[in-house]
Symmetry: C2
């Protein structure tokens, strides 16, 4: 973790270990011990590979290596290295040995590398292996820490970011579409637990849209190591009816969005959250042009609107949606919102939008919707 | 470009062609013609490769293929395909032929693929080539459009996004650090021209920091196809002195940030911009915790604060900084800000920050700083 102070690092690592324990328990994996030391976390377990896989979903981990532990005695290191090499280095492959050493030993790191390289070549002579220090097929790493040694040949990339729970909570508007779950996930990745909110525009949107929002919420929960359990579902159809009756059609989506922000502010108050996350990206939809973001942002006065996808292209968002498992749920067929006008404003002026909005009692509308919010288990 | 309506697409493509002309002129490249057709743009030029490279920096282009044009007569297609294959397919390589066809012809697309595949195998029999349709080393593509055909074997990825100038202008706070130029670039990528602003905290920051901000501005200009020429430099040292004299040290950075937003709002007014872009990322610095973002965001009341890096890890930001050429300038050695306290608040409450701020006439401070702004050519 890119954390500057030692003090912050300790707090973050403690939270990380908590989240790791949660993730392992969810997979019925029971490590013998979890030990923090020098920017690394050692999970002692007989099921190293399964454990590593289970932990790829824990934010704050940048990579995982299932390793075999032995003593720092050269004979033990050699034997374990040969066993690891036997499983990891296939016929005709190239390999390198790397060694990191902390403590006082009778050997140096370069000596260990050279010796193990020679031993592996000799021991597996029938495999026709070659040493390649610049771009090897397999890197065998030996980490020696005082009286212990860890030997591994595989590293799985994880998500990076910060442990969930090290940042303040935020409310996330989940729409049932592809973008908002990705925005939610990116915010979780940086440590902020999410409170998902689905604004239900029925009868202008269909039940399938609602199902998609709930489904993506469930998928996000799988990343949450216990930090996400519920979703707010807030009925907004009556408000859309009022918007349609009292304001110009070209502003319908902008006024609806402004209302969504206000409803989200109520949820943030209730949940003691510190911001509102949306899947908005510049220019991705008519309501998301730079002009229109300026015309809607102003409606949120008490909390920042966070838009982690601002600079993303659709293909970049889609790639993350596929990786995190929300893609399928978010692309199921739905009817779209029947309240959306055929010619929405794309360069709305804030003053004009506020003038139209003055015909509505938006504070009362937001409160009325929030009062009818259901909180569902995910 | 992922643009929904035909009408919008036409406007965007027109702007894109303008920007392409600017980029080519800047490299002294003179295309014979630029033609828009069916979601593609054809640049007719004898210098196809140089032209393609020059256009990789134009936002709104997803990829570029230097192609050879010929007629849709099968003999011409075959001859050009063989010439392209000769240069593109090396000994022992695998290849595939793909064909896209629009119009009426005496042959079908699968027939063209099969025929060209056989011809290439036969013609370059000494090269020991193999056809591989699923994962070829080289893909030879034939695009047939009525009476014309385009044949290419190379595709360069470009930046995607939207043409610069299709979204409203925004003000970007450039700090001299690594993050803000990347945030600025991502916003440009989505079509929004940027007005960079450097808030100069001298004497609390050094001249090297100012130079870094100007230098990154110059690098960003290279991506701007004529949409960025100037940077605002706003002296803020006197304001920091007032903050230090009148408010608790733990809030210095937060109050300074709030003031920066207010100064940026003045620039946005003057420039008729529609938002403020910053390089803030959740948890990246003490002033950027989720709590603190909530405590500073509120200072900007007239424009949204856009933070495209919210969900980025440092390594992800660094990778973009390297790609876009701002990394080196932004990592030069500087002194850091001497006004930053050793124990900054990391979970500031908005109410407490506002109470501290009430000791200052922040509106007058922002105005005084803006009045002394210099506008420098980039």
């Amino acid at each position: 973790m890119g954390v500057k102070s030692e003090w912050t690092r300790r707090i973050y690592e403690k939270k990380l270990v908590e989240n790791m324990k949660f993730a392992l328990k969810a997979q019925s994996l029971k490590p013998a011990a979890i030990v923090r030391a020098r920017g690394r976390i050692y999970v002692k377990t007989p099921a190293a590979t399964e454990t590593a896989h289970a932990l790829t979903r824990v934010f704050g981990i940048s990579s995982l290596s299932p390793a075999t532990q032995t003593t720092s005695e050269l004979a033990d290191v050699t034997q374990t290295a040969l066993e690891t090499a036997e499983a990891a280095i296939a016929e005709n492959a190239t390999f390198a040995v790397r060694c990191h050493r902390v403590g006082t030993h009778t050997y140096s790191s370069p000596e260990v590398c050279r010796m193990l390289g020679e031993q592996i070549l000799e021991h597996f002579v029938q495999r026709n292996l070659k040493v390649n220090l610049t771009d090897p097929d397999v890197t065998l790493t030996v980490e020696i820490r005082d009286k212990e040694a860890y030997i591994y040949a595989e590293t799985y990339p994880a998500q990076g970011g910060f442990p969930l729970g090290t940042q303040a909570k935020t409310v996330c508007l989940l729409s049932g579409g592809m973008d908002s779950p990705v925005a939610c996930w990116l915010t979780m990745k940086r440590g902020s637990p999410q409170v998902p909110v689905y604004i239900d525009n029925a009868p202008y949107t269909d039940e399938a849209t609602r199902q998609k929002a709930l489904e993506t919420g469930k998928k996000l929960k799988e990343w949450s190591t216990g930090h996400m359990n519920r979703i707010y579902v807030v009925p907004n159809g009556e408000n859309i009816r009022l918007i349609q009756q009292n304001t110009p059609a070209r502003f319908t989506c902008l006024l609806c969005k402004r209302l969504m922000y206000r409803i989200a502010e109520h949820v943030a108050d209730k949940e003691k959250a510190f911001g509102i996350v949306t899947g908005e990206a510049i220019g991705e939809q008519a309501s998301q042009t730079m002009h229109n973001l300026c015309a809607i942002d102003e409606a949120a006065t008490r909390y920042p609107i966070h838009r982690p996808l601002l600079g993303f292209d659709k293909l970049e968002t889609e790639a993350i949606a596929r990786k995190i498992g929300t893609y399928q749920a978010s692309t199921a067929k739905t009817q779209g919102c029947s309240a959306a006008p055929s010619m929405p404003a794309t360069q709305a002026k804030l003053a004009a939008v506020k003038e139209a909005e003055a015909k509505l009692d938006v504070a009362a509308m937001a409160e009325a919707a929030f009062a009818k919010a259901e909180v569902l288990a995910l």
